[in-house]
Structure formats: structure tokens, C-alpha cells
Symmetry: C2
Subunit: 589 residues, 2 copies
Amino acid sequence: MTEDSVWNDTESIRREDSIMGSSNKDDKGNLGPDPLSPISHHKFPLAVPHNPKDIWKKGGRVFSVLLAINLVLLSCTLVSGGAFEEVHVYDYDVFFMLTIVMVITIAWMLFYLLNTSRHQNAILCKDSHAGPIWLRGGLAFFAILTLVMGVFKTGYYSSFSHCLSAIKITYPIVQALFVIIQTYFLWVSAKDCVHVHLDVTRCGLMLTLTTNLAVWMSAVTDESVHKAQMKLPNSTHRIAGMKAGSTKCPCSGKLCKIFQDGYYWLYPFNIEYSLFASAMVYIMWKNVGRLIDQHTNHIHHLKFKFFKGTYFLGVITGLLIVMLGLAVLIVYEIRVNMHLDSKAKNEALSIYYIFNIICLSLTSLASIGGSIVYRFDKRVMDHDKNPTRTLDVALLMGAALGQYAISYYSIVAIVANKTSRDQISALNLSYSLLMIAQHTFQNIFIIEGLHRQPPEEEDKTDPQQDIYGLTFVNVNAVSLCVPESALPSATPPALAIQSSSEVTQSIKVSKKMHWRRRFLKEISLFLLLCNVILWIMPAFGARPQFDNTQERRFYGDSMWAAIVDICLPFGIFYRMHAVASLLEVYIMS
Amino acid sequence: MTEDSVWNDTESIRREDSIMGSSNKDDKGNLGPDPLSPISHHKFPLAVPHNPKDIWKKGGRVFSVLLAINLVLLSCTLVSGGAFEEVHVYDYDVFFMLTIVMVITIAWMLFYLLNTSRHQNAILCKDSHAGPIWLRGGLAFFAILTLVMGVFKTGYYSSFSHCLSAIKITYPIVQALFVIIQTYFLWVSAKDCVHVHLDVTRCGLMLTLTTNLAVWMSAVTDESVHKAQMKLPNSTHRIAGMKAGSTKCPCSGKLCKIFQDGYYWLYPFNIEYSLFASAMVYIMWKNVGRLIDQHTNHIHHLKFKFFKGTYFLGVITGLLIVMLGLAVLIVYEIRVNMHLDSKAKNEALSIYYIFNIICLSLTSLASIGGSIVYRFDKRVMDHDKNPTRTLDVALLMGAALGQYAISYYSIVAIVANKTSRDQISALNLSYSLLMIAQHTFQNIFIIEGLHRQPPEEEDKTDPQQDIYGLTFVNVNAVSLCVPESALPSATPPALAIQSSSEVTQSIKVSKKMHWRRRFLKEISLFLLLCNVILWIMPAFGARPQFDNTQERRFYGDSMWAAIVDICLPFGIFYRMHAVASLLEVYIMS
């Protein structure tokens, strides 16, 4: 899904090149004369010297994307083939491919780390929007849990190592190595704008991206198959590895059972790890060969105190809902999975739906409220190039499609099925409709929030810094980013002096806006916590889509399982991604 | 797939706003001060007046995209539900929804036409890249054939009108009306950059886009179901309308049979019509509220003579291949569909595969040759904003995914299946591998070609025009596009005078480059014709994927049918789209 956004901003990148002044640098930095930029094309309308780098820039991008497409499709084929009982593709085929790809990726990452540390011009500037500390922190957290999962998985497979192919034990070990190296790699390099070996780096990053996506697909399929096996015993899915265990090598020991349970419970973290890593690698790929105007880049150095300027209303309500949600989830899991009494199951389903309806209604209202407040917000829109934000928005809209699709299928099933209309189907209908509304309103709120300039400038009271601060930062940053010689000496950036009346005005405005910012902060924290619980519920096994028989009967088991298995991973990812974006909105409010 | 490319170029649009000079126009034209553009932000780093339009611009886009997503998903649900026998969603549900949506769209298009003809400032400028004459001509051609299909369809349904719901006869009539009005609408407005009722126009265009996509989905599903029914009689698909005809109301009359056959043969044109219209509407949507620097926009006024500068080599070879392909298709259809003798069928399959392998090898070689020639081409890369090209590239890469996926599934099936290896599977394997290679090389060639500046400037021998021509065009175009008052009077665009030595040099270069351009022209014409035959074969019913039993046995009928039915429409669309793009490459060579 993300591939086609690749093509849209060559123009913006070139525009940034032109921001750097009319430097005719033609080294690895890929700067050339920009005949078509708004600044220069009036000066040289026709005769432009030929720059061969210019041609290869696009070529490298196209080539790396094609590489990625092919690898993703190959793994998609193997993984989806491996998921079906009757198809003679086995999980060890998938593991074998993944192991090879991971080894190559590890080699490339080591090469990259070595190479960038030796070349001193390798990284001319850093994209301060990319890889913020909470994203890297989240990545490290998920990495640790993935490693724990690796231990469980190795333990589980070792319990019957005598009757399994060696690849099944090799795979978790290679994966652990991959996770350690990749986390280190992303921790130190997430902000890099690389300027050496452009094409190799692009291909390497795309390889890393596809490896993560392939691991994600494999994990999601494994998990869906596991869930489907539990809920729909007559389906044609097969649990990877489990089948072999259950027939030839029974997983009978207590330790083996613990390992097995443990690794299934830790799957959601592994899934999130792959997606976080993919997003960060994609941003690195976008930043290859990029030169940045640091004016737009200073804005993230906010000294961010977590609960500054809130009345704890959002946090408290949010935490209450999280607690309640956890209780509901536990009740639901116990009632639905342990007892098979239909009445207890229906009660559990009702509780689950009612909780979700309340939670979705509250978050929808909060999002609408937030959007209305933005209408009156005087902050300037931030339209600068920012690949991180572009990706965030694309992922929010794209991942929401998963939940939208499930909801529409549910709605059609309930509306078309005129015979069986009970309380559960009424609840299910409201739940599906609210799900669509909530995704819509929340996306509008988050997208608006991400496009605002942080209000820091208006807050500053030190006039000295207010007048010169930004412009100085700008000049310094540019000279940090490009070697001195490349700076146009004839045209220094104009230093504009803000009049003191404007400063006074901005302080007044900032006091008026205080309640708005406080309200936005409360709302984003509340939404954040609600999204956490809405992530936990499906990620840790609540599947009302299968427990509620309506859609299964309407579409048939296999079709409904396919719809849910394909769409739900995106729905779950949406929640985690919304949490990250809401944290950003919170900090910028 | 196209939605996520939406978010990437607000920056580019704003850049264009800033190109127009520092106009502070704040009318419907949506121009405001651009504090963050490379030109102006050094002048006003901090104090920027608040512009409410600025906020709503993004809002309107987000809202219209959300509307489109919801409508597309709803129709996707209904259409996919309608395709399965056991799901209680019927084709008349789908037709009912489509009829309503089409009526609304017709009303909106009439409103738009009326509105833009009354408001004199509604269309400030036109995007000359959008809706070139061959695209509009193609649209009109497909529209006429769609209307013929409508006649056949109405005739077919009228044959047993006594036992069908009225909606089935209403639908083709409304569709015919929709096609006529939409074709007129796109013919006159495809190039518009609208500047009134921005939000309404965005939503209206998205509605038109989703209507076309819904019609496309419905047509593709109908056709796939028809094909699958013929090839896999035990599948759970249902032919829309046919079932009712075959049980209650037999289609026994000769006329009825003719109508039925006719309308199935005309389906491919209806499908292409919807896709062409979708692409053009999407470009209109991207152009809403856009102001264009006409410097970049003059380049399409090429006086284009079709076979100028070729030795007819490409055309003759291409036409030979088309003829041969048509013969192969006829033999294949007769042998596979009429006789069910396994040997004759295998022979037909062999012939089909061999022809395709030859054709794909030749086109791969031609694409590689073309890409190599581009390496030595001295023409400047064109990096300006051009939504049409961005969409073209995204669609080429996106649509290729369909054929890639089918090929990978085939390859896995053949490689994994070690038991039955015969001539057919060897041919199938080569065919699938070549399919991947050909798509890759052809995409690289087309994308490189689309990003070149046309060589016209270098060809001109009139020095007067060469020196001043472009710059004058530029100034005139800008003053055409924006009202006089908005032009910055203090900073007139600098007129650069090209030295006469440069003119002489460029003439020399152009003579050297002549053989290259000739070669590129031959190659693009040859590729174009090959893509025509590669479109005709699957579009008019060749389905080796089903006739060759290998993959069906490996994945099972239903899974393989799902893979082919979902992916093949994109593969077919790829061919038609490649034809359009190759025509563009040919003209620009």
C-alpha cells in the first residue's frame, strides 16, 4: 500500500535541494542545478548542463521498489500457501526463506553501520522528525518482548526437536539475532539522511523493509490460523508446527505447554515490532539522499513534560476505561473460551459489545469536540515536507480500511438477514456502525492535529530569543547540514526582525488559547488510552467476529474467516499506530 | 490503492501557489501568503496572518477521501457478497445501489457543468497534461461500445421481463444515461482546475470516482463469475441474472442468445471505460484549487505526426505479432472451449504458451534496449509536478502487482509440485517467469520515458523562437492563469537570453541524438502493439490459468479461482494502461 506514495514527492525533494541555495555541488550529495525549481528556472530557462546523477536517482528508487514488490509477493505466496491444509507448501518452506532473507539483511545492516562510521560525509544531515524517542523506545520495548517470545519458541520447538526439521529451531535463533541488530541499527540510524552508496542503501533498506513485512505476514498468519483453529474447528487452516506436534510428537510436558502458551501470548508484540521497524525503515528510505532545510526541523526540540498543562481529566477517565476494558476482556475470554454454554456466551458477547459501544461513543464525541476546537485554533498549518507525517497519515487512512471492511461486511450481513434478529445482532449493528464513525472522526482529529505547528513560538517570553532565536537556529542548522563551501556566499539568508508589538500580541493570543490547548491535551490523552484498550482486546484474542455466529452463517465459515483474517491485522495495527500519532498530537498541543 | 498518494503533495501544491509570486489574494482561489515556501519564509519567519481557508483545504480533501473509502467499501461488500451462491445478497441489491449512486452522480455532473459555465472565475487555469486527446478519444470509443453493450443488456433482460425485478431493466438504461453525460462531462472538463465550491467539487468528484469503481467492480465480478462458471462448473459462484434465467425463465429465443453473447463480448470495453473515467476524474480531483505555473505546461502542444521519424520497423513487427496473436487466440478458444479432448486442449495450451513466451521475450529485450538507450540520452529529466504522470506511474506499478501475484502463485505451485512435470508445466513456468521479467523491464522503460522532457526545444531551428519563445510563453501563460492584479508588479519574471553559441550547440546535439530518438520511437510502437495483443487475449476470454490444471490441483479450485479473479482484472488493466503510457512515451520521444 505504501509503494505508490513513493512517486509523489520527488518534486518536494528537489524543492528542498533548491532551498539550499543555488549550489552547483555535484558530489555524492546529489545536488545539481535545479533548472525547474521556482527560484532558478527564470534564470536558466533552456540551456541546462546534463547531470547523470539526475537520471540515476529515480532509477535507484524504481529498482529498489521493484525489488521490494517481488520479495513481498514471493513471501506472500509462500505464507498464504502455508496457511492452508490442502496446499503442499509447509511452514518450514516459509521459515527457510525468512531465515535466508534475514541473514542477508543482517549482513547489509552491519555493512551499513561500518560504512557510515568510516565515511565522514556519509550523513550530511539528520531528519529530526524521524525516529522520535518514544518511537525508538517503543521499538526497544517490543524488541525485548520479541526476544522473550524467541526464547519460548525455541523452548517449545526444542521439546520435540527429534522429530522436527532443524530449520524450525534455527529460525527463532536467527530471528533473535536479527531483532537485536535491527533494533541497534534503527536506534542509531533512524534519523540518517544517507549520502553515500545511494542505490545500495535504497535496495538494502527495501530489503530490510520487506523482511519485516514478511515476518509480520508470517506472524499474523500463524496467529490467525491459531485463532481460527480454536474458533472454527472444521476450517481448512493448519497451525504451523502444531500439526506435527499433535500427531507424531505430542506436546505433553508441562514445560512444553507453558512455552506454547507463552509464545502465543507474546505474538502481538512481535507483530507490532515488525510494523514499527517497517515504518522506521521506510522513513529512512525516503530520507536517502535528502538535504533538509533545518528551519522546518527545529520544531521537535520541545522540552516535553508529560502532564504539564492538564487537569488529569483525560488520564483519569482513560485509565478508568482501560481498567474496565481489561475486566471485560477477562470475563469475555473466560466465558467464551471455557464454557460452551450458549447463554453464558451470549451474555459475555453482550458485555463485550456494550463496553465497546460506550468506549467508541465517548471517543467519537471526544474526536468531534477536538475537531471543533481546531476550527477556532489560530495556529498556523504546517505544510512543510515531512515524510514521517506523510507516512503517518497514509498509514492511519490505510490501516483503517481493515476495520471499515469488517464493519461493512457485518452491517450487510445483519441488515440482509431478516430472519434472526435478536439483542446480539442489534448490539453488533450498533458496534459496527460506531466503529466506522469512530475511525472517521478520530482520523480527522489526528490528521488535523498532526498538521499544526507546535505552539512553542507563541509561548516564549524572552524577547531576545523571540526575535532572533529562530532565524539564528535556521542559519546554524543550514551550515551544519551542508559543507561551508556549498553555501551561497553572495546571498545570505535575510534576517527578519520581528517588531515588538507583534511579540506582545502573540503573548496575548497565547493566553487566550490556553484553555483550548488544555482541552486538546485532555482529549488526546483520553483518546490515547482508549486506543490502548481497543488494541489490547483484539490483540490478545477477543474475536467476537467468530463467537457471534451471524456473519459466519451468512457468509459461510471460510469466506468470513478469510475476511476477518485479512482485515483484522490492519485493524489491530491501526490502534497501535493511532496511539503513536495521538502521543505526537498530545506533545504538539 | 490510490488514496494514500493523496497526502504527499500538498507541499508541491503550495509551492506552486508560491510560484505565482507573493500574491496575497484570498478569494475562492485559495491563495494566501505562504509563510513556509522557500521564497517567502526568510522574509516572514514568525508573524503570519491567520488564513482560515488554509485549514479547510486539507479538511475538504480528507472528508472527500473518507466519503470515497466508505462508498467503495460498501459497494465492495455488496458486490463480493453477490458473487457467492450461498450468500443472501443478490445482484439486484447491487444494481439498486449502483442505480441510486449513478443518479446522484448525474445530478452532480449537471450541477457542475451549469455552475462552471455561469461563474466566470470558476476555472482560472487548465492543466494541459490532463485529459490529452487520445485519452479522451479512447474514452469516447469505449463509451460507444458500452452503450452498445447497454442495448444488448436491455434486450437480453427484456426477453424475460415478466419474471425479473424492474431494477434489472432500469439499470442498463440509467447506466447508458450516466455514460453519455459522464463522457460529455469529461470531454469538456477534464483539464479544469476548479476554483469555486472547492469542497462540494471534491466530494462530487470522489462520488463520481467511486461510482466508476463500483461499476468496474460489478462488471469484473460478473465477468469473472461467468468465466469461472464455464471453466469450473462445481464452483460456488453464481452468474448474475443467468441463474434466474436458466431456472424460471429460460433464455431460449435466438435473439435472447445473441443479446447474451453480445453483452458478454462487450464487457471488456465497459471495464476499460470505467477505469479510464476513474483515472480522469482522479486527476480532476487532484487539480481542484490548483494554480499552475504555465512554464511547465506548454510542453504538450507538440504537433504530433504519427509515423514521423520511424522506419515502420516497430509497427510492422508489432502488427505481425498482433495478427499471429489473434490467430492463436482463435485456435485456443476453439480447441479449449469446444472440444474437451485432453490432447487437443494441451496442444492449444502449448501454442498459447509458446506464443506468449516469444512475445514476452521480445518485449523484454525491447524494454531493456530502450532503457539502455535512455542511459546515453542527453535530455533533461522533467521533475515538475504533474499529477497525471504521478498517477500513471502509480497505476503502472500498482496494476502490475496483479500479474506478479498470479505468476508467483504459479511458480510456487509448479516448483513445489514435484510429481507431475510435463511439457505444459515447463512452458507455464517459463511463461510465469517471463511475465515477471517483462513487467519489471517494461515498467522501468515506461517510467524513464515519462520523466523525460520532450526534445522539441532542441529541434527548433528558428533562433528567434528559440531564444525568446519559451520565456514569452511563460509570462503570457501566467497572466492568463491569474488575474492581472495578483501578479507581483515589483518583481517581473527575469527574461533570460540564451547565447547564440548555445543554440548552435543544441542543434548539433539534436542531430547526434536523432538515431536514438528513432530507436526509442520504434521500440515504443512495438511495445504498444504487443501490449494490445497481450490485453486482447485475457480480456476476450483466454484463461490458461483455469485450463491448465496444475495450479487448480495445487491450491484447490476455490482458492485458485479467488486468486485469479482478484488479480487478473488488475493484470488486464495494466496492459491497457501500458498502451496509453507507451503512446505518451512515443509522442515524447
